[in-house]
Symmetry: C3
Subunit: 342 residues, 3 copies
């Protein structure tokens, strides 16, 4: 979609300096500006780029005084960073807009309840007793099973799989190829040395404003529900085991795994590639450094690292010594010789 | 599906105490019971929940004597836990039942061989020379390539991709978005500093009763076969490299990776996020702790941890000292000063 | 596809010794030969297998003199390994050949530009303003968004998702269920303790000859582009964050994650399950051992290991002492007692 300088100026309450018909269709950093992009100059450190940028339009401060020639069309505003953020937000809104339309190739159970404002893309499938609330967007090639509930404004991206009985809140985003509600990994060893499947009869419940990354997997509960609290953000390729519960506004980076029945508190920040054992309780506002492995319960407000993880600064202190272990052990051996020879 | 108390009682050879028409459509723990759920009371510790549970039906022991009022309908049986397990198993059976039906939108090669009892969902695709045996269930939006063989009772969930030449045993389950038989990661460095592809001409063979988790990837062999033995259970997001062989009844937790040509024995238990190098031999009944990294061959019956991994209890002993390293090094430095000053 | 011994002999300029009508349809190692397979004998160590192999055809050297009976049909060539490699390459070419055909069930925007030699499989979808160059192969059930550009000879496997604005070079391969261009993980904490989404307005650019493994995810940039250089090979289940840049001919093994805005140099070799923090610069020709975690910039030609990672041989030296830490600490305590008693 193209916007002219005058349209942009109106959006951000700014003044155009240059050709008001200059067109842009994307956003860029000023140092990476190209024809058709709009950028901004907020930090004076970046001023030199203004004279060389190929960005078609640049947001600058009302007080900016150029010292050389430049090609870009200026839009003057009181706060360029704020104005740029406003445009980003606007971009985001446009991206999310979908007409209310159901593709002819979508296969929708007659027993599903679909609000009038829903968008459903080609080759997507909606099961029986499933309900999609207002402004839900189902991109193409999505599978949604039976008895699923999806709240208002939620967006499901192409290739995501939402299994039977899942409950998805309002304003959630589920990215491509994520799998919600596959069977948990429950196996009972039997006397023959093989394993019997423990039936996984529960479901997955996502609160409002939950984001699930691409190729992330959230298993259904054995009994009851796997619960992802309001505002939780999960990055890509994360594994959430059966019956896990994650508290509100906890954020987890890519490739982390949480084993079955563990409860994680609210407002935690968990790094990438972390592993958390099953049946643990992690407190509120806990910080877990990337790649840590958690084998026991963790108290509120802890900051931990390592595998098995312990207190963050203690880990770092110990690790400095580990790096110098060769020197320390050489010292030790020298002392030993000295003492034994005395 | 709804069941009445009298239907349940018949299934578990029990006696209803209360309204025989009470309906349930799911299973729950007694402390999480809600209207429409069936739960059980086996451990006396949970008895207080009986008086407060919202579960519509609760299985209790023949000998149970209530001490307060309660709302739930009772079904008395000799062993409530066993009866509940029986219902779980029954649930599992129902879940697996599919009519023999082939969706009109499924695209099936004329050169495929499909048993009469097979179910194939919408938008799934079956390639040439592929054979599906009795009671195979192919959920919607599955891709199955050419020359694939799928054994009796095997279930392939939505979004799974089974590439050409794969051989899948009987009674297997392949979960959503798993990829079986993509090319192995084989690259030969050339004189220009870039890489030439080593053609991956082999296939993947899964034995009977193999479970493959959601978003797990199993690469085809360079030559010959990547082999997953009978009864092997793989959790979600696991990577199995080309020409890997995994022995019968080995169980691997989520996000573990096994590099090319490694052979893993039978009855191993491998934790999550483990990494195993290529061209290794891991013995039978080996236990590998989560997050370990394996760089050399491992003998039968070993239990190992760490990266690089070594004997489990030795790792833990060493790690205790690591946690206290600052104290130890301070001690060492004190001794050193003392000796040097003497 | 079946080939006769005489057809194979012609392909590799060899001479048949045995039945010229013997048919094969796949390649095997000599020790794993089965009826219908073609193998080779290059290393004399494997000669005993020639007398027992079930391979229907075996490539042997012109100078080979058998000392026992054997069943396999021989094809004599000057260099059996080279001849076998030639057949592998031939196999690879055949695999890649696709007729120029667009499935009737493929949904292609009228505003897309599709070269005449393109193959598009069933139920795949191509968005508006997207262009597919000559000999592009889009397997079935692929999703390609709007404004995507895909270069000549590139192959997109079943279930891959290519989001809006992605630029894919020539001769790339994107494996099943990979996701290119999903939103980056950008969240700004707000005063309520929850997170606001940072709009992800950029795209992903792949150079020529890039390979992306199954279920790998490459996020679009916040602003600008996530860039994967020419000849880069990414294995399965890898996570590449927003605005990451990877230099030419760098190779990364499975399950590694690279956090946002990190720049990786050219010709690096990065092991599996490595984690690299955000906003770092990794030099050229850097070797990173599997499972390492990188928290700071790394210089050209470094070889590193551990978490946090440091120089490879220093890590190994320190780790030897870690393994023996119990002995060392016991020594230390003995010395301490001795000194304190003196």
């Amino acid at each position: 979609m193209n916007f002219t300088a005058s349209q942009i100026a109106e959006l951000v309450s700014g003044t155009v300096e240059g050709n008001i018909n200059t067109k842009v269709n994307r956003l860029s950093k000023i140092e990476e500006g190209t024809e058709g992009s709009l950028s901004f100059l907020a930090n004076p450190k970046y001023t030199p780029f203004l004279y060389t940028t190929d960005a078609s339009i640049t947001l600058v401060s009302d007080s900016f005084v150029p010292e050389k020639e430049f090609k870009t069309t200026l839009i003057r505003v009181s706060d360029p960073y704020e104005a740029f953020s406003k445009l980003l937000e606007h971009y985001n809104q446009i991206q999310k807009q979908h007409s209310s339309e159901i593709a002819q190739t979508a296969i929708i159970s007659e027993a599903a309840t679909i609000a009038k404002t829903v968008f459903i893309g080609d080759y997507s499938q909606i099961g029986a007793k499933t309900s999609l609330k207002d402004h839900v967007v189902i991109h193409p090639q999505v599978y949604i099973g039976n008895n699923v509930s999806i709240g208002e404004n939620t967006v499901i991206h192409t290739g995501a799989r939402i299994h039977d009985d899942s409950v998805i809140g309002n304003n959630c985003v589920i990215h491509s190829n994520a799998v919600v509600g596959a069977d948990g990994f429950g196996w009972a060893p039997n006397e023959n040395g093989s394993y019997d499947k423990v039936p996984q009869t529960g479901n997955v419940i996502l609160g409002d404003f939950v984001d699930i990354g691409a190729n992330t997997t959230i298993d259904r509960a054995t009994l009851g529900s796997t619960k992802i609290g309001k505002g939780v953000k999960l990055d890509n390729l994360i594994q959430i085991g059966h019956n896990v519960e994650i508290g509100e506004h906890t954020v987890i980076a890519a490739q982390t795994g949480v084993a079955g029945s563990t409860k994680i508190g609210t407002h935690c920040q968990i790094g990438g590639q972390v592993g958390i054992s099953g049946h643990l309780t992690i407190g509120n506002q806990v910080g877990i450094q990337a790649k840590s492995g958690i084998l026991k319960n963790i108290k509120d407000n802890s900051k931990i690292m390592g595998y098995p993880a312990f207190e963050y600064s203690a880990f770092n202190k110990a690790y400095v010594h580990f790096r110098n272990l060769h020197t320390h052990i050489t010292d030790l051996q020298t002392l030993k010789k000295k003492l034994n020879h005395e």
